[in-house]
């Protein structure tokens, strides 16, 4: 019998491939300092994966590199090494590896790490993402959609809500690069996002709805900060959105088939 190739590592590599446009743009904008930061996070996320491989026989995953990349782009720049390592370890270990590795986790490890840093060290300023990086999220989303690792429903669900809100007069001009980057880096993660079709629409819409809410009522929050808060809350709600989707699917089926 023949076997296909969409196992976990292929999917992880496809996610990485989708994020390449974003990565290249970011490296070009931020230069050598960004390269150093990316290598630093890759090495330490890799170390945790190796530790869990040796201690718990969990195969390491390329998804660790996705986490490292997301953290390197979004982490506050003025944290010292200890603070960053604490955050990284908390995210990678507590949100992913203790559950059995990528594919069994509930929350996205990068979202958890960034929220942890945000709560733990609130005085550190969040970086400003310039518009080019925000635009680079569009090819990333397209490649992810074409390879099937990102769901178009999540992105469309978010776009619908953003569209309605901007018609209603909400101004996204300051925050859209951060929102776009967080959307492809954290929200579209195939494992932590909702897994049903209706669930994905709701999940994307919820993320965008939270962004709108925070833009209107959260005074003084940085763009990345409120995007990450929205990503974390949407992530926490993903299982219940899936439950809603399954319940409605079952109800529809009962009505159609008796």
């Amino acid at each position: 019998m023949i076997r296909g190739l969409w196992d976990r590592e292929t999917v992880a590599l496809m996610v990485l491939a989708s994020l390449l446009p974003l990565t290249v743009m970011w490296l070009q904008v931020e230069g050598i300092a960004a390269v150093g930061r990316l290598i630093f996070f890759l090495v330490f996320a890799g170390i945790w994966h190796v530790v869990f491989m040796l201690a718990r026989a969990q195969p390491p995953s390329f998804a660790g590199a996705v986490t490292a990349l997301a953290i390197a782009i979004l982490v506050p720049r003025e944290l010292n090494v200890v603070q960053v390592l604490l955050g990284l370890s908390f995210g990678v270990v507590m949100a992913e590896l203790v559950f059995g590795g990528w594919g069994r986790n509930i929350l996205n490890p990068a979202t958890v790490m960034l929220s942890f840093v945000g709560f733990g060290f609130p005085q550190a300023p969040w970086p400003d993402l310039i518009a080019q990086i925000g635009w680079a999220a569009i090819p990333a989303a397209l490649v992810g959609w074409l390879t099937g690792v990102f769901s178009a429903r999540i992105i469309l669900g978010a776009l619908v809500v953003f569209g309605i809100a901007s018609l209603g007069g909400v101004d996204f001009s300051d925050i859209y690069p951060a929102v776009a980057v967080v959307l492809v880096l954290l929200v579209c993660d195939p494992v932590a996002s909702a897994a049903t079709q209706l669930g994905r629409w709701l999940y994307g819409a919820l993320f965008a709805g939270l962004i709108v809410l925070f833009t209107l009522y959260w005074q003084g929050a940085a763009a990345i900060q409120l995007s990450i808060a929205a990503a974390l809350l949407a992530n926490l709600c993903a299982p219940i959105l899936d439950e809603i989707a399954i319940a409605s699917w079952l109800a529809l089926r009962r009505r159609n088939l008796g």
């Binding site: 019998m1 023949i2 296909g4 026989a57 969990q58 195939p190 049903t196 699917w249």
Partner: protein
Amino acid sequence: MQWPIRGGLSVHVADLPAPSRAVPVQITEEAGLTAAWDDDFRVEPLVAEGDRVAQGAPVLRSRHYPEIVVTAPMAARVAKIGLNAGRRLSRIVFYAESEAGRHSFDTSAANSLDAPAAMRTSLQESGLWSAFRSRPFGGEPVPAEVPTAIFVMAIDTRPGAPEPRLALSGHEEEFARGLRALTMLGDGPIFVCQPRGKTLFDTSGLGERVRVIKSGGQHPWGLPGFQIHRNYPADTGKPVWDVHAEDVAGIGAFLETGLVPETRLISVTGSALREQRYVHCQPGADLRGLSHGLVKPGRHSILSGSALDGHEARWLGPRQRQATILSGESGQHRRHWFLSALQGASRPLPIIPTAALDQAMGGSLPTAALLRALSAGDAETAVKLGALSFLAEDMALVDYVTGAEPRFSDVLTTLLERIAEEEVG
């Protein structure tokens, strides 16, 4: 009102020839019927080794259900009857001997199409009963089972499968007669699943109970499991049968003539063949005979069934309509011991919900939730999501796409066995 079917995946194995030429008939020199070791098919032989049997003559009788018989696939001499402990069938092998002729049954009572009991008896004593498969749990229906619905599959989307339309062309009348025969087996609807386009047969005079489902979509939408799951889910106490359209035409022909159909249309495909072909051959045909002279040099494995759900076999399996000959070593290649150990330690491998996974289950049910319930052995959720309509073959595409370990086909089979035991015990 339901959404029209879209979605699914196409898996390319080999290009079948355009069915323009007349499809040859080939009766292989040997034919055999086997049972898996865990089938527990206990039989009473009706013939002895060395006997000459006519095509269609009963050769084995089930000990659990004496109504069920197995008939000879061709005019032949019985070469070998292999029985395991407890008279469980392991295999029965025939050598062709065309002088033995064909066995004829008296079908006058059943052919009147108004005596349900006679219809059942006719189908059972001629071995045509084995064309049906009952869900939930699979397998041939027990003699007294009354289906709540029957799905007639005039569509097959497995890679390399022969088009049922090709098998039906020229037999439309027999097909309609066969459908009328099916309406006598139960009170429920008869669904005929066919590709989009012109209706394949004349629906007049068949009544309200025969309904046509025109299905678009790629694999797996041509599998009975997905059509049943979508249109008429099976449940314990609500058995749903499926049967191939060609077998229904065969039943129609049998009722008129009293002769069990000699051949079925199968495709012989695969990467190890120089030439892909269609052939009419007997049930249980020798797969090496069918591919003889066509195989490229080098190692190959011969599967009964498609490249996705087939199993290595010597003989064409029951209800199978495909022989697949794949080049290269069968099974997985050897990997470094450390990688295999790592993989082995983390089973079942996690499932990443991607678009490929959704499409592998047809794109219209909560795939990830169903697969997670299966991996976790959560029978209650799996049943709620419709697992009772599925059988191992329906999971073959998911196994192919994800390279799942252990295979979802096996996981589902185990789960269904457990549910069956709980229901019965």
